[in-house]
Amino acid sequence: MAAILELRGVSRHYPGHRAVHNVSLEVESGAFYSILGPSGCGKTTTLRLIAGFDEPTSGDILLDGKPLQNVPAFERPVNTVFQRYALFPHLTVEGNVEFGLRRRGVRDCKTKVAEALEMVHLTGKEKRMPSQLSGGEQQRVALARSLVLEPRVLLLDEPLSALDPALRKSVRAELKALQRRTGITFVFITHDQEEALSLSDRIAVMNKGEVEQIGSPQDIYVRPATPFVATFLGDVNWIDDASKLGVRPEATRIGRESPGNGARIESGQVRQSVFLGHCFHVETETSRGRIVAEAAQPFAAGENVFVWWHAADEMRFHA
């Protein structure tokens, strides 16, 4: 499939601060594409560059192969779901959803608005003001307001972060279903690795303004390109001091007897067992340092144990 959105060496430098540096990525049509990174990594700036709220200092942004340079935000066929939704407080739900259609001079607003509201399960709340809605409902208005315009690309700026945790998972599923149903390309900004892993077709991991790795969720989790990606996406047992060789706790086994097969084996002593609900993380002290293993049962502190893993699960990095 062809790339619907392409960033070629895009940078946004401020005096004394490189918010975004040399970012290149390709988003395929119909994809759920996440840009993942810690706060301040430049992911929101990247989104603002795509939306047209800010201009890159160098590099090109192409939509459907055409450069977006000098195309003002109000003419770009992309729409944004803002982190704090940015609903117009003086307009009703209906008024908010209609806003974009009216700007385009669409005459048959009512049907489209009704369809969009039905899609986000807000039928019957057309006349409410945003202040009368819950956070989850406000977010769905923000979604409907953008989706009704059938954008080429929908940009979502940490849309789940303002919701309470109980709601987040259900909204996450809804978001994915919505994306499948509409077939609209989503560019999803998040700092939550679980969100990114569960939702995305592809993920670009950003750190300090640069892209560290681009790949499928499995790719970047199992074969992280850099130590940063490895630690940002999950826990890592570092087998050496220089962060060149690591293994994830869930790939690390633990037992009182040595398995005696071809695995990498270390002997050690249990420091403590931490209950995580679905499993225990057993912290051990070995000659290689601290190694955490996942186990179904707890081990007592001070117990002598063996921890082992398979060479295939090792993550190797070149400095």
Partner: protein
């Protein structure tokens, strides 16, 4: 709990009653009495004062007062809105500076500032002197003692009353609102009319009402800057209580003004 609240409200209610309700009742009573020979009021009770107000002379003054106050309010809005927008969009540190600058005129009395305008505008004033000296004009411009001068004085004096509430409204408009509007395809000018203005409405309303009410009752500005043809209703009221010594008629005038303003504001709400 309710008892406690009643006690806390008592001082405010007392002040309100003594300083507002009682005087208003006195004014109402005066307006229904007859004129005393040396000022003051006398029996008998009468509606005569209100009947006299129907005179085209006074109706004309009422009409002009509304017209001048309305125009002054509109001018304040046109001049004050961009200023409030500019302040609201400045950095937080700058905002404090600008707001203080807006309020600096309040540090001097309104009377003194109005006199200052007289010194600027009169035939031998600064503006005319400079224009004459540079040869731009041959005769002094009639800048003082006309409707324009009154309007200028009112707009100058009451502009801060509009800027401050409008600023308060505009300040709350998050930059993301403008971005959202642009994102949904609104050009900057459309975003202004469809998003900024509606969201600033509460402030524009409050500011306009403040300016309008202050202007319609004013007597100082038309008295000093206006000519004999620029009498406003405030001057009529003042005159009845001083030179004309017709307290009942003055009272009737002020009550009619109050009634009309209330009607005017109510109709604005609908």
């Amino acid at each position: 709990m309710h008892k406690l609240r009643a006690w806390f409200l008592l001082p405010a209610r007392l002040v309100n009653f003594v300083c507002f309700v009682v005087p208003l009742c006195i004014v109402l009573a005066y307006s229904l009495l007859s004129r005393g020979v040396y000022g003051g009021v006398e029996q008998p009770w009468t509606f005569e004062n209100y009947r006299r107000l129907v005179d085209p002379l006074y109706l004309g003054i009422f009409l002009r007062s509304f017209w001048i106050a309305g125009l002054a309010t509109l001018l304040c809005l046109v001049l004050g809105f961009p200023l409030a927008w500019f302040i609201a969009r400045s950095s937080v540190r700058r905002r404090t500076l600008y707001l203080n600058l807006v309020m600096i005129p309040f540090w001097t009395s309104f009377l003194v500032r109005t006199y200052a305008w007289m010194f600027l505008l009169r035939d031998t004033g600064l503006i005319n002197t400079v224009l004459l000296a540079t040869g731009i004009i041959a005769e002094p411009l009639p800048l003082l003692y006309n409707n324009g001068a009154v309007l200028l004085g009112l707009v100058y004096g009451y502009l801060p009353f509009l800027v401050l509430p409008v600023y308060t409204s505009l300040e709350k408009i998050d930059l993301s609102m403008m971005e959202a509007a642009a994102d949904l395809g609104a050009r900057p000018i459309t975003a202004f009319w469809q998003v900024v203005v509606p969201m600033a409405k509460p402030g524009m309303r409050a500011g306009s009402i403040l300016v309008f009410i202050s202007c319609i009752g004013t007597y100082l500005t038309p008295d000093l800057l206006g000519g004999s043809k620029t009498i406003m209703i405030g001057n009529v009221v003042q005159n009845q209580f001083t030179a004309a010594r017709d307290w009942p008629f003055g009272a009737a005038c002020s009550l009619l003004l109050m009634g009309l303003v209330m009607l005017f504001l109510r109709s604005d709400e609908l």
